[in-house]
Subunit: 231 residues, 2 copies
């Protein structure tokens, strides 16, 4: 499965995506095909492919004959994704609580233990954030997997680039948020095992929405990263 085939195009796609999600390429910044091609010593063609792909994911905005720009963070889109995630996650996890058997406990416990250790470590905050977010994604993937709904979360991940970027933005804030996330994970798993659906619903709603509420002050510090809200 080494799939050498479109190494150049895929490579620049992944590098760009990582830089955009980590905000190293900040929202609103201009980025040109030629410039990028020269940077990676390739031609415009694979760069164009990567650009188009990133545009479809909502991470780039290509304005023909004008330029290409890192898209602003669209809080409405983030809110939509959160709604979709909340609904699907509750449905899948309440299914899981019905069919749950002890054999899957190990994998979850392992991830939770890993997160605990992360929080106790003394990494620099931005490195910790990335590692914790990765582990968070692993946690949710493991849950969907256990429920036999692997494709559902793959589908969600294919659509939540905007949300990912938003998360890396707010998690730069502090370690307390990550601590809260971890505690939520414990509660979620508890309510699945104990089949407490009301508690589960409560957890999921808070888990996802907490960030967006607590962050309005952070957002106002770099308003140029965000699209205007006209709800």
């Amino acid at each position: 499965m080494s799939q050498k085939h479109t190494a150049t195009s895929d490579g620049v796609y992944e590098k760009l995506k990582e830089q955009i999600l980590h905000l190293e390429l900040p929202p609103g910044a201009a980025i040109s095909e030629i410039e990028t091609a020269e940077k990676y010593n390739i031609s415009r063609t694979p760069v164009r492919d990567a650009f188009k792909r990133l545009e479809r994911e909502g991470l780039l905005e290509i304005r023909p004959h004008i330029g290409t720009f890192i898209s602003l963070i669209d809080l409405n889109a983030v809110s939509d994704i959160l709604y979709i995630r909340e609904v699907l996650e509750y449905s899948v996890l309440s299914d899981l609580s019905q069919i749950y058997d002890k054999s899957q406990d190990l994998r979850i416990q392992l991830i939770l233990q890993q997160q605990k250790e992360l929080l106790e470590s003394d990494m620099p905050i931005d490195e910790l954030s990335r590692a914790f977010i990765n582990s968070d994604n692993e946690f949710h993937t493991a849950l969907f997997d256990a429920a036999g709904k692997r494709n559902v979360i793959k589908f969600l991940y294919s659509y939540n680039s905007q949300y990912e970027r938003f998360r890396t933005f707010i998690n730069f804030n502090g370690k307390e948020d990550l601590q809260k996330l971890y505690e939520c994970h414990l509660k979620i798993w508890d309510s699945i095992v104990s089949k407490d659906l009301a508690a589960l619903k409560d957890c999921i709603n808070h888990h996802l929405y907490d960030g967006i509420n607590a962050s309005s002050d952070i957002i106002s510090k770099t308003p140029e990263y965000f699209t205007k809200i006209h709800s």
Copy 2:
């Protein structure tokens, strides 16, 4: 808003997509860049752009240095989409039943009336199918719209090409299926207006899954259109 900008690429994309969804380009068939470019009197570049886009939607399979093929209908993917749709649709529509006010009734009634007239008309079956499916999509869009969740259904539609193709496949079967669909629509709207959530859930599940159950015999007539199921 005339947006002339990428007319060539977008044009061939839409033409190809329509042909694929209508099964005029049958699953498994080979389709090459050069051949397509010559057919539309354009160069390979915009064709390639369209191909990549269709590949992302799961409608094409590009095998580098070998060829490009119309993807087979993946029943597992269809099933996944149906699950996602069912969960989201129930959530959105039960929200709608809470906030529903009479002012939105007109638009829905108009669409339902239109569907009734379609069924009473004497169009050829394949033309009727297309028209009815379009109207079906309008119906669901109007519902999501009324619930203030326009983006959620846009998101769903961006991901359900496989399902669309499957539907055009099974609806070639007969007019009775369309009649059933119409009756389901009536029931769905009734249960929203009367706030009968249990009936609503029942309708949605049946509405979406009915097709896939009733069609196993049709599928076996052209098994080469479908991927092998190894569940």
